[in-house]
Symmetry: C2
């Protein structure tokens, strides 16, 4: 494509992005391509995420956290497969509001999280758009050959487990929009979680070794479990009473009139970026020990049975979940 | 990210994109990732292109050709490196005008060119945007280890060669906008070239074996030669008198008052997707024979000398090219 150079495509690449390039494989972003040597005994795992201002992030979100969230949601996809990320290709669609300060903030966010997660920029493209700022990222990771965990391996008798807490993404979006009334420090924790969720990279090796099926919670816990149930050809039963909820989430729950409806909101809100997965029942104790060593909360929330779909229970009753996941309609 | 489902993200993937998935590595687009086995002795070459309606393509361009052009400009990047493409990751930002007919046309364009070029969809993401329709594509290809042709290998004494004709992309854009007065069949040829340029895949093995530096002509011949000169630390001299021009381009030239200015327009207009490259002088005859076997036009347009930058000559004079390439400002 011809280059866009209103605010300086070449300058953006040279000043802001080239310093983030992978030292060997990114070719200093001076070429049109990245070149990656094969790694014997490993598969390359690729995932792509695309985000739009006003749809997937808020116009008032700081650009450094927009960049960090973009990286983190892709890292989370790889963690849920058990893969080890190393680099990414980035497409930036800069809107008219993206001047140098915004671009610099975006690059600073990338730099921060590159260091934190050990990934580097491999290449990409930067263009201007008359529409909202948008970004598209392809994350790359390694996986020992043939070991990638799919959505399709859950079997009757398996347990359903989830890392961390569920619902902070949903509450965080409301906090960022100023729609929640909670103590200021709780609002801050939730907003931070919405803007920079924590992908569970350290737990990825245990997913790889012991999960029978796994997915990261992005659409909403119930919706994502539905993807696993459909792909595996099994039914999943989960109990809202076991749903792991953060301290901020508990504070929010305290103010709800209908506790069942409130828990359904948390279990369907999405944007959590925890890993929900299935495992053989006899591996559950080992998984709990592994999580404990990482000081990571891990909660058994249900089991796999024969059948189809996701059954949600609360206080012995089966709950009708009309809208299992978040949609932007 | 939470899913966008106004016009049906899942439906778009299931009905339109899943049939395009790579039979092994795309996992039926039913997972969040693609998984690609390593290929011993080969490097993986990656390139990314991003396009925006109203900037890189016209609102009136048919969606099937938008898809085909998106694939082709990325294929062209790999051809200029000497690489062999096999698959791609796709990010779609659908605008409000992208209903089912537009999405179906887009998928039909992908399908057409997947067959033509032997590539398959590996994975991706599809979201809705309130802005203009936009797309981002990461193309993947194989290259025998360490053989990728860069921009930095041109040496004094090398010749400068270019495939095909230069200027049809520039004229094609004007034709598509209804700004050219030429015979209808010429306008059609030019518009077709603008909407579906022909990446020089068949010539890629010769680039890999004999080019010292190469780039595809996207920004404009002079600008792209400038990238090679800068990366290689040499000067390039080209002669506008040797510029290969198509029959339609010659017809357009006939109507120009200032032939020098007209040729500069062709040499700086961009969007050609031909390969311009440097090679050792003693390999030139072999390259011409290889091109002739493919019935591909190949033209020597200049030479590499010590120095910096690009010198453009016309009828013994040095021409001052103020704007070496196309920008969207």
């Amino acid at each position: 494509m011809p280059s866009v150079d209103a605010a300086g495509e070449f300058e953006t690449i040279r000043r802001l992005l080239a310093p983030l390039a992978h030292p060997e494989w990114g070719r200093g972003l001076l070429d049109d391509v990245a070149v990656l040597p094969s790694r014997a005994g490993y598969d390359l795992v690729l995932t792509k995420d695309s985000i739009v201002e006003g749809v997937h992030f808020l116009a008032e979100d700081p650009m450094d956290t927009v960049a960090r969230k973009l990286l983190r949601v892709s890292l989370s996809d790889l963690a849920a497969k058990g893969a080890e990320p190393f680099g990414y290709m980035l497409g930036c669609f800069w809107s008219t509001r993206c001047g140098w300060p915004e671009r610099e903030a975006f690059a600073a966010g990338l730099k921060h999280d590159q260091t934190e997660f050990g990934v580097a920029l491999m290449g990409g493209d930067t263009v201007n758009t008359p529409g909202p700022a948008s970004f598209s990222l392809t994350m790359l990771g390694w996986m020992p050959r043939g070991r990638t965990v799919g959505r399709d391996g859950a079997r009757p008798g398996d347990v359903v487990l989830v890392t961390g807490a569920i619902g902070d993404g949903y509450l965080g979006l409301q906090a960022a929009r100023g729609m929640l009334s909670l103590e200021p420090e709780r609002l801050l924790v939730l907003t931070d979680h919405y803007r920079a969720p924590v992908p569970r990279m350290a737990f990825a090796p245990h997913i790889r070794d012991l999960a029978t099926a796994a997915i990261d919670v992005s659409d909403g816990l119930v919706a994502d479990l539905g993807h696993v149930a459909a792909a595996s050809g099994v039914a999943l039963e989960v109990d809202l009473g076991t749903l792991p909820i953060s301290a901020a989430g508990m504070a929010w729950l305290d103010g709800r009139v209908d506790p069942q409806d409130a828990r359904i909101q948390l279990a369907t809100g999405g944007d959590d970026y925890e890993i929900v997965f299935t495992a053989r029942a006899h591996d559950e104790a080992e998984l709990h020990r592994a999580a404990e060593r990482q000081h990571l909360r891990l909660t058994a929330i249900g089991r796999v049975v024969a059948g189809t779909g996701v059954t949600v229970r609360w206080a012995e009753n089966i709950v009708d979940v009309r809208r299992p996941g978040w949609t932007h309609d």
